[in-house]
C-alpha cells in the first residue's frame, strides 16, 4: 500500500511539473498583458508534434526539439502581434475569445500540416524503470523534474536579478510608468508571449515520451495548466509552480484511489473550489477580473 502511495506521488509530481511549465506560460502572459491565453496548450502540442515531425524529417533529436521550440515561439509571437495586439481594446472577454479562436486555428493547421495520429518520442534516458523504495520511476520523470527546476531557477534569476527581467516586471506592474522610463511595454508583452511559447514547447517535448502527442493534445493539457495557474493565483510564478504540483498530485491520487475515469474532472473541480473559496488563488494577491 505504501508502495502504491509512493507510486501515485511520483506520477503526480511528474505530471505536476509539466502542468507547472504550462501554468507559468499562462501566468507570465497574464501578468504582462492581462490576457488569459487559451492557446497556451497549442504551444505544448507544437513542442511535441513539431519535434516528432522534425525528427522524422531526419534531424537529430536535440535539433528537432530546438526547431519545435522555435516554431512554438514564433507561433506565440505571431499570436501576439497579429491577433492580441490589434484586439487589445476588446476587453478581457474579447481577448479570451481571440485566443480561443487562435487555438482552434493552430490546431486545425496542425491537423493538416502534421497529421491526426498519435506519436511518441524516445525517452531521453531509455525506458528502463528505476526502483525507488518499492515504487518505479521512469527515467524521463527525472528529466522532467530537473528541467522544470532549472527553468524555475533561470526564471527566478532573470526576474529577480537582471535589469531586463526587472524592466519586464515594471511594465507588468505599471505600463505607463514603464513607458515614461523608456521601457516599451509592447515589446515586453511580445517577449513574454515568446517566453510562454518556449515554456509550452518544452513541456510538450518532455511529456511526449510518457503521454504521446497528437494534434489535439493541447486542449486538455492547456486546461490543466490553466487550472494550475488559477490554483496558484493567476499572475504569480511561484503560484504556477505550486498549482501545477497540486493539480498533478490530486489528479494522480484520484486516479489511483478512486478511478482514472475521474482523473480529468479533478482539474475542473479544483478550479471551481478555488474560485469559490479563494478567488485570488494560493499565492495571488488579487482576484482576477470577472470574465
Amino acid at each position: 500500500m505504501a508502495g502504491d502511495l509512493l507510486q501515485f506521488l511520483f506520477a503526480g509530481i511528474t505530471v505536476g511539473a509539466i502542468y507547472a511549465l504550462i501554468a507559468l506560460g499562462f501566468s507570465l502572459v497574464y501578468s504582462a498583458s492581462h490576457v488569459i491565453n487559451f492557446a497556451q496548450g497549442e504551444f505544448v502540442m507544437l513542442g511535441g508534434m513539431g519535434t516528432v515531425f522534425a525528427a522524422a524529417a531526419g534531424l537529430p533529436l536535440p535539433i528537432a526539439a530546438l526547431a519545435a521550440l522555435v516554431l512554438a515561439v514564433l507561433a506565440a509571437m505571431g499570436l501576439e502581434r497579429l491577433a492580441i495586439h490589434p484586439a487589445r481594446d476588446a476587453g478581457l472577454t474579447g481577448l479570451v475569445i481571440v485566443t480561443i479562436g487562435a487555438s482552434i486555428l493552430i490546431r486545425g493547421l496542425a491537423g493538416i500540416v502534421f497529421d491526426r495520429n498519435f506519436h511518441t518520442l524516445p525517452a531521453l534516458s531509455g525506458d528502463a524503470p528505476l526502483l525507488v523504495a518499492g515504487a518505479t520511476l521512469h527515467p524521463q520523470a527525472l528529466w522532467i523534474l530537473a528541467a522544470t527546476l532549472l527553468v524555475a531557477l533561470a526564471l527566478w534569476l532573470f526576474f529577480a536579478r537582471s535589469l531586463t527581467g526587472k524592466a519586464m516586471l515594471a511594465a507588468a506592474v505599471d505600463p505607463l510608468a514603464a513607458e515614461l522610463a523608456g521601457i516599451d511595454p509592447r515589446r515586453v508583452v511580445l517577449w513574454t508571449f515568446a517566453l510562454a511559447g518556449g515554456l509550452g514547447a518544452l513541456a510538450g517535448f518532455l511529456v511526449t515520451p510518457l503521454a504521446q502527442t497528437h494534434f489535439q493534445i493541447g486542449v486538455l493539457l492547456g486546461l490543466k495548466g490553466f487550472a494550475a495557474a488559477i490554483v496558484g493565483g493567476l499572475g504569480s510564478a511561484p503560484g504556477a509552480m505550486a498549482g501545477g504540483l497540486v493539480i498533478g498530485l490530486v489528479e494522480q491520487l484520484t486516479a489511483g484511489y478512486l478511478s482514472s475515469a475521474y482523473k480529468d474532472a479533478v482539474a475542473f473541480v479544483v478550479i471551481v473550489l478555488v474560485l469559490l473559496l479563494r478567488p485570488s488563488g494560493l499565492f495571488g494577491t488579487r482576484a482576477i477580473e470577472r470574465v
Binding site: 515614461l180 522610463a181 516599451d184
Partner: protein
C-alpha cells in the same frame, strides 16, 4: 528653445482635451502650467512624453521634430517625466525603481547616477531595499523624482508633485524643485498649487479647458487680477 510646442491638439476618442496649445521652455528655465481640474495639464505632459498621440500641431525638442517619435526615444533624447500620482513600482525595491529609471542609459553609468540620487535624497538610500510601496507619500514623490533624474534628463516634466502631500512635505518638495533648478535642470512644472508654482517659476501658462488663456512672466501672472481670482483664492 529647448522645447517648442506649436498649436498642439490631442483627443480622447472624439473628445478634444487640448486645442491649439503653444508653449516654449528655454534651457535652464523653470516654466509652470497652472489650471483647474480637468484643464488638460496631465494630457499636455503625456502628449509631450509621447504617451498620447498628437492630432494637430507639432512638438520640437532641441530643434528636432519629435511629434511622432515613440516615448522611449523621447526619454533617450532627454525628456523625463514624473507622472501624476507618483506611480512608483510598488512591489519593487527603491533601488530597482531608481535603476529602471536609468533604463535608457549605458549600464556602466548607473552606479554613479545612483550615488548622486542617494546624495540628493538620503532617505532613499536608507530605504533602498524596501518595496517602494511601503514608503510614505513624500518619500514616494522623492523616489519618483529620483527615478526620472536617473534618465539624466535635459528637460524634467513634473505633474503635480505636491498632490496629496501634507503641507510640510509640500514645502520639502518645492524646496527640492528649487534645488534642482539651481543645479541647472530645465523644468516644466504642472501644478494646481498655483501660488507656490508661480512663486518659484520664471514663466507661466494658464490652461483652461485645453487652451492657453494667459501666459507671461510668473511675477506678472501672480499679480494678474484674473489669476488671483481664479487660482489664488484672492
Amino acid at each position: 528653445m529647448l522645447l517648442r510646442v506649436e498649436g498642439l491638439a490631442t483627443h480622447y476618442g472624439r473628445i478634444r482635451a487640448l486645442e491649439g496649445v503653444s508653449l516654449t521652455v528655454g534651457a535652464g528655465e523653470l516654466v509652470t502650467i497652472v489650471g483647474a481640474n480637468g484643464a488638460g495639464k496631465t494630457t499636455l505632459l503625456r502628449t509631450i512624453s509621447g504617451l498620447r498621440p498628437v492630432t494637430a500641431g507639432r512638438i520640437r525638442f532641441d530643434d528636432r521634430d519629435i511629434t511622432h517619435r515613440p516615448a522611449a526615444e523621447r526619454v533617450r533624447l532627454g525628456i523625463a517625466q514624473v507622472p501624476e500620482g507618483r506611480r512608483v513600482w510598488g512591489p519593487m525595491s527603491v533601488e530597482d525603481n531608481l535603476l529602471l529609471g536609468g533604463w535608457t542609459r549605458p549600464r556602466g553609468e548607473l552606479a554613479t547616477s545612483l550615488g548622486e540620487i542617494y546624495a540628493l535624497f538620503p532617505r532613499l538610500a536608507e530605504r533602498r531595499r524596501q518595496p517602494a510601496g511601503s514608503l510614505s507619500g513624500g518619500e514616494q514623490q522623492m523616489l519618483a523624482i529620483g527615478r526620472a533624474l536617473m534618465a539624466k534628463p535635459r528637460l524634467l516634466l513634473l505633474d503635480e508633485p505636491s498632490m496629496g502631500l501634507a503641507p510640510r512635505l509640500v514645502e520639502t518638495i518645492f524646496a527640492t524643485i528649487a534645488d534642482l533648478r539651481q543645479r541647472g535642470t530645465t523644468i516644466l512644472l504642472v501644478e494646481q498649487n498655483a501660488f507656490a508654482a508661480l512663486s518659484l517659476a520664471d514663466r507661466g501658462y494658464v490652461l483652461e479647458s485645453g487652451r492657453v488663456v494667459l501666459e507671461g512672466p510668473a511675477a506678472e501672472l501672480l499679480a494678474d487680477r484674473r489669476v488671483q481670482a481664479a487660482y489664488l483664492g484672492l
